[in-house]
Amino acid sequence: MEWANAIVQGIVTGGFYALFACGLSLMFGVMGIINLAHGDLAIIAAYVAIALIPSTHLPMVWAFVVVVPIFAVGGYVVQRTLLQASLDRSPFTTLLVAFGMSVIIENVLLEVFSANGQSITIGTLITKSFSLNSTITISYFSVIVLAVAIMVLGGIQLFLSRTATGRLVRAVADDREAAQLVGANYRHVFGIAAAIAFATVALAGLSYGMLTEFVPTSGVTTLLFAFESVVIGGIGNVWGTLVGGVVLGVAQQIGAQINPAYQILAGNLVFLAVLAVRPRGLFGMRTA
């Protein structure tokens, strides 16, 4: 029954990983940017919430309402300036610039907020849970996060497939130059995609900060989880990412069941195994 619990907890965690991963996936799919600062951005969101919300005297849950739009705007601005300037050079430069951003963010957070663990406290919701049976207990909050993840993934899918802007985003992702020929300002479209990606990363970061304690270097771990979810699920597949997240979550929980020290290791090993056996991921359509 402990194993069943591990699997259930893994599935719930997997939704959370998928929430982390979708922004990474979107930025790679549309701009070809591997955003190595993705995890650090999420952690910034959590710190911003801690720094901003108490002074507004709003309940912490309002962090979602405040921080997510800030990140969307920030995403557009960063894309149109720093990232576009790097893209104009080369994908190689962009990768290095993203890595530089990651290191800079991490160290600035360390200097400003110290290496002490923090968390976003949202009151009693975080501790409430329900029991399926005597061994399986699920926290309400993690179910909410899973639901949010599914809604976000579904929302992105709908946006891309049903709206005119989404269609344009896909067109730009397919062929940037041809999109210019039909009148698309691809830089603006990139900005929109980055705004969405940053909004989702803020969502993920805030959820992370509410679920668990975080430190400035937590970004690295979350980036790796997001990345592993994307690759396990298959690059360029929205729902594959959810499955990838779930596979990763379950693997980690099973690993932790064997020995708590093996939690992350088990995830890494599953990732490497997928890479060895199915380099395109479980549902992948194209290679990286």
């Binding site: 790097s86 080369s90 994908p91 190689f92 530089g100």
Partner: protein, 377 residues
């Protein structure tokens, strides 16, 4: 350092007389100067204080890593952010050997080779991914290596372990020995990189980096080339980690497997310049100058250095040395080829760094030739 004699000289008679020659005519001079510098450096422990030799050891360690990273990314086009895996394995290699009675200093080359041997199967996995996904996957590998090593209790687990067999040396002998070992590692690393780049493999590397698809169509040697470079880089980083283990008298997983190493070697290369051997040297010097001046201000030196690296790589993707060379034509380590015809210079030097941007807007007239070569009037 090799001299001019090995340089292949070819005549192409199809359109006038063209000569393919080693870029830079000062091979012998540079070789001689290099030996003088090496001799001077070898005497340093006699001249300077132990604190300064320790600083120089750290300088050599970072320079070794930067040269290796530059070989990977600047020449072979592989962006690894997980080289700390091999730094850590090299360090732990020394620890394991020393725990089994080896002399820790003698264990340095063995540990480096062990790191290289581990890199071989790792490359099989990693090479399934391209570009940026390769980059993150190298990070996963480093993360995995750290977790695995941390879970071995006989090696001290997460808290690490002191390296045995070093306490018998006097502090002075220890400082000297470490220094010379570090100097040997960095000299050999530069030598290997230089030799590799001047070999036919070096040309193939340039071809792979600049245009993987057409280079691949030229033969299946591309994979082998990349693998050789990857293994050599692991060897170098392993040696650097081995030096660290000795000079710090202990290894601790979270420090020797730290992503900080990746950050430093990458920033140094970004600022100094990729695709040259001079770039990492310049970058490492700048890094140490900044670090020494800001050492008391926590991590700000790394933040500033990182910010400068980002700006430099956007402003001039070949780094400061690239910019200097473009203006002055100076080359200390001539590794490119030049085509001589009157005033025309054709140099096979990095195009990737700013060539990528042209990929989207390349007209049919530009062709492969125009993209891959740089014409200097």
């Amino acid at each position: 350092m090799t001299t001019q004699q090995r340089a292949p000289t070819r005549r192409i008679t199809a359109s006038g007389t063209l000569q393919v020659r080693r870029a830079g005519a000062s091979g012998i001079l540079v070789g001689a100067a290099g030996l003088v510098v090496l001799a001077l450096l070898a005497f340093m422990p006699v001249i300077v204080s132990e604190a300064d030799t320790t600083l120089l050891v750290n300088f050599f360690v970072l320079l070794t890593m930067a040269v290796m990273w530059n070989l990977l990314a600047g020449y072979a086009g592989m962006v690894s952010i997980g080289q700390q895996a091999f730094v850590g394995l090299g360090g732990y290699g020394v620890l394991v050997l020393a725990m089994n009675g080896f002399n820790p200093v003698a264990a340095i080359p063995v540990a480096a080779v062990v790191a290289a041997l581990i890199a071989l199967p790792v490359s099989v996995l990693l090479f399934r991914l391209g570009g940026g996904y390769f980059a993150i996957a190298t990070w996963v590998v480093a993360d995995t290596a750290q977790i695995v090593v941390s879970s071995i209790t006989s090696l001290g687990g997460g808290t690490g372990h002191p390296v045995p067999g070093l306490s018998s040396m006097s502090p002075h002998t220890f400082a000297e020995t470490t220094y010379w070992a570090a100097l040997a590692v960095v000299t050999i690393s530069l030598g290997i990189a230089y030799g590799l780049l001047r070999s036919p493999l070096g040309l193939l590397m340039a071809a792979v980096r600049d245009d993987e698809v057409s280079a691949r169509s030229a033969g299946a040697r591309v994979m082998t080339t990349r693998r050789i470079v990857y293994v050599v880089a692991a060897l170098g980083c392993g040696a650097a980690g081995a030096i660290l283990a000795v000079s710090q008298l202990q290894v601790q997983p979270s420090s020797i497997f730290s992503v900080q190493w990746a950050a430093e070697m990458i920033f140094v290369s970004m600022i100094g310049g990729m695709g040259t051997l001079e770039g990492p040297i310049l970058g490492t010097v700048l890094f140490f100058v900044l670090q020494q001046n800001l050492a008391q201000d926590g991590a700000w030196y790394l933040i500033i250095f990182g910010a400068v690296a980002v700006l430099v790589s956007i402003w001039t993707p070949r780094g400061l040395w690239g910019a200097i060379r473009q203006r002055s034509g100076i080359e200390l380590f001539p590794v490119g080829y030049r085509l001589h015809e009157g005033a025309l210079h054709l140099v096979t030097q990095p195009q990737l760094l700013d060539g990528g941007s042209a990929a989207g807007s390349n007209g049919p007239g530009s062709g492969a030739g125009a993209r891959r070569r740089r014409l200097r009037p």
